[in-house]
């Protein structure tokens, strides 16, 4: 697929200077959306004085939290060279199952089993997430099924499970412990923002400075080589799949608190946004490349676009068109800013 005139990089060995320059440019690939964010900021400011208020920006931040957790999860999985489409269903089904196990069978429209005390709702939700990841991992790594289609099947199946359990209803009467994190504020800033920032920081540091984090890059870059270097490829991959689903389940907790109920189509259709944000943020679909910081700029870009479009009063009929256009434009910018061909 290389164009005709390209001399393969490895053969131009003797010339260190231009190689060095190329490396430097590529190193900033994760920053390639920063100019886009700045431009969006300027447009937002020009369009409405309300844009640059802390109210508005914190709002954008909080709205980005749940999506950003899915992006965090998907970024980790993509870096390890895998894909998980089912995250968008996990964000809905995990809370529903947890709440179903916890809520008593009385009164309300939604009847649970009441098997566990209500403070266990969050741990249960996370456990369900982990279980989903483990099952996906089993199908992909043990049965060696195609991961894209396994998780596509899981996407449909889990959404169906959620509809079946909740009977298609939103669940409104939730344990307070479950909704606390998504609805409270700490120091004037929504708790969800603090938590996400922390998780991104933790994830980013692990990827940058811990052996197991670096192992993801090695596995995504060349799984066989990683194995030869002593990395337990299947185990690490499985762990990442589980961690990803767990993060999605936790995103479900925040979502539920944020919007005050578990809706039957919580997360429905998000996976497209998740992929778009991750990839325009510089994470490679082929594994082994990208950072969480880049992925975060991807989410923020998409979220700011929505905000600016609403502030600017874009006619509703053109919203979706612009959404798509923005993805492509951001992709083009991130391609030329990083100077690398994609794929």
């Amino acid at each position: 697929m290389t164009p005709t005139t390209e001399v393969r990089a490895n053969s131009a060995a003797a010339v260190p200077a231009p190689a060095r320059r190329r490396i430097d440019l590529a190193r900033y690939r994760d920053l390639s959306l920063v100019p886009v964010l700045l431009v969006l900021g300027v447009i937002g400011f020009a369009v409405s004085p309300a844009f640059l208020t802390s109210d508005n920006l914190l709002g954008v931040g909080q709205q980005a939290t749940e999506l950003s957790l899915l992006v965090l999860a998907e970024a980790l999985i993509l870096i390890a060279g895998r894909m998980d489409l089912s995250l968008e269903s996990t964000i809905g089904v995990a809370p529903v199952i947890a709440v179903w196990l916890v809520l008593p069978d009385h009164g309300a429209r939604f009847n649970g089993l009441g098997l566990f005390p209500s403070w266990t709702a969050i741990p249960l939700c996370l456990a369900v997430g982990a279980l989903i990841g483990a099952i996906n991992g089993f199908l992909i790594l043990k049965l060696r099924l195609n991961g894209f289609i396994v998780t596509l099947g899981a996407l449909t199946l889990l959404r169906g499970l959620q509809v079946a359990i909740s009977q298609g209803q939103s669940i409104v009467n939730l344990p307070g412990s479950f909704t606390y994190l998504g609805s409270t504020s700490w120091l004037g800033v929504p708790a969800a923002i603090w938590i996400c920032a922390l998780l991104f920081l933790a994830g980013g540091s692990a990827l940058a400075w811990l052996r197991h984090g670096r192992a993801l890059y090695a596995i995504g870059g060349n799984a066989e080589a990683a194995r030869a270097a002593g990395i337990r490829v299947d185990r690490v991959t499985w762990a990442v799949l589980i961690l990803g689903s767990l993060l999605a389940a936790f995103a479900g907790v925040l979502y539920t608190g944020h919007y005050g109920s578990i809706s039957a189509d919580q997360g429905n259709g998000w996976i497209f946004q998740v992929f778009a944000a991750t990839v325009i943020g510089g994470v490679s679909l082929n594994g082994g490349r990208g950072t969480l910081f880049g992925a975060l700029t991807g989410v923020l870009t998409l979220q700011l676009v929505v905000n600016v479009m609403t502030l600017a009063g874009v006619p509703p009929l053109w919203n979706q068109f612009l959404n798509g256009a923005i993805i492509i434009v951001a992709l083009i910018i991130s391609r030329f800013a990083s100077g690398e061909q994609q794929e």
């Binding site: 709205q63 298609g168 409104v172 919007y259 005050g260 905000n307």
Partner: protein
């Protein structure tokens, strides 16, 4: 909070109203959007730019946030997810911004006024009409919406309850369609193959199901005008002009007109009133409807007339006045 007061004085001092459309890709909601635009300008209201939440409650919440930040004094929304709007409603009520919810009734959280026709009534009306047409026996297929949609669910539940109670000899075949015409067509086709004696069809949304159903029946040679032997009784829901045409031709028998014009008109009316601090009481209104008390607010139950061949040309039906 710096920008929060900036818009109040625009447009002759009228309070700013933020309007969110639930989606832009359906006939019904587009008609609604047109009425909002018309009414907004004809009444000289100060509406903020209309936003579109694309059937996604997270976008709705984001848009409402923008309304708050740009100084809206009242908000009109149509949350298709009646649960997940709860915390937003709480926030708005803290800020004393009245909310008018169109078409759906939020499960939790304060609303100033719900403007809707009663979806349960739609289901019951359809049931009674079909039951009479079929003489109390036979089979009917019900093209349901998405199982996660409150409106669809209300219609299904009311339809089922009414059938069970009043027409126990009618067998109802429920077909979940996810509001998709092609899915509906496929399932209806399978159902027709298994039940050639199907006597009636209830379509929960004419805007989605009408054309695919007519096309299917046409192709199968089952589209006989009302009154002829072998005619399948069809009742639809929405009241869009295409349904009226079909009623006139005798392709379908009836529809329940969900008043897009009144939705828009009274949504803006109540929003304006709310922003000006007016209050309302339960009881009959001056426009032929009743306001009822909800645990979390009031609801103006607009009339949703049943449209048949007899009254299809009635000029007061919104489907007969949509901008051409």
């Amino acid at each position: 909070n710096r920008g929060s007061d900036s818009n109040t004085s625009a447009s002759g001092g009228k309070p700013a109203i933020g309007v969110d459309l639930p989606r832009a890709d359906s006939d019904f909601w587009n008609s609604y959007a047109q009425y909002i635009k018309q009414d907004g300008s004809s009444q000289g209201l100060n509406t903020l730019p209309v936003s579109n939440s694309q059937n996604d409650v997270t976008k709705l919440v984001a848009n409402v946030q923008v309304f708050q930040n740009t100084g809206a004094k009242a908000v009109v929304m149509a949350p298709q997810d009646t649960g997940a709007i709860a915390s937003t409603l709480d926030q708005l009520s803290v800020k004393k911004i009245p909310v008018v919810s169109v078409d759906t009734r939020p499960d939790k959280g304060q609303v100033y006024m719900v403007v809707r026709a009663d979806n349960k009534a739609y289901g019951a009306k359809a049931c009674e009409f079909l039951g009479k047409q079929l003489g109390g026996k036979g089979k009917v297929a019900e093209l349901q919406g998405a199982l996660s949609s409150i409106n669809g669910r209300d219609r299904s539940e009311a339809f089922a309850a009414c059938m069970k109670e009043k027409f126990p000899d009618i067998q109802v075949i429920e077909l979940a369609t996810d509001w998709k015409g092609d899915v509906a067509s496929a399932k209806l086709q399978s159902t027709l193959a298994a039940n050639p004696d199907l006597g009636g069809i209830y379509m929960q949304a004419g805007g989605v199901f009408l054309q695919p159903t007519l096309a299917l029946l046409q192709q199968k040679g089952l589209l006989k005008p009302a009154g002829q032997p072998g005619h399948i009784a069809i009742i639809s829901n929405d009241g869009i002009p295409q349904e009226f045409d079909a009623i006139r031709k005798g392709d379908i028998d009836a529809t329940v007109s969900q008043p897009a014009d009144l939705y828009a008109k009274y949504a803006l009316f109540y929003a304006q009133a709310g922003a000006e601090g007016k209050t309302f009481q339960p009881g009959p209104t001056d426009h032929g409807s009743t306001i009822i008390q909800l645990p979390n607010g009031l609801e103006d139950q607009l009339p949703a007339p049943l449209v048949t061949k007899d009254n299809v040309d009635d000029k007061s039906l919104w489907g007969n006045n949509v901008s051409k």
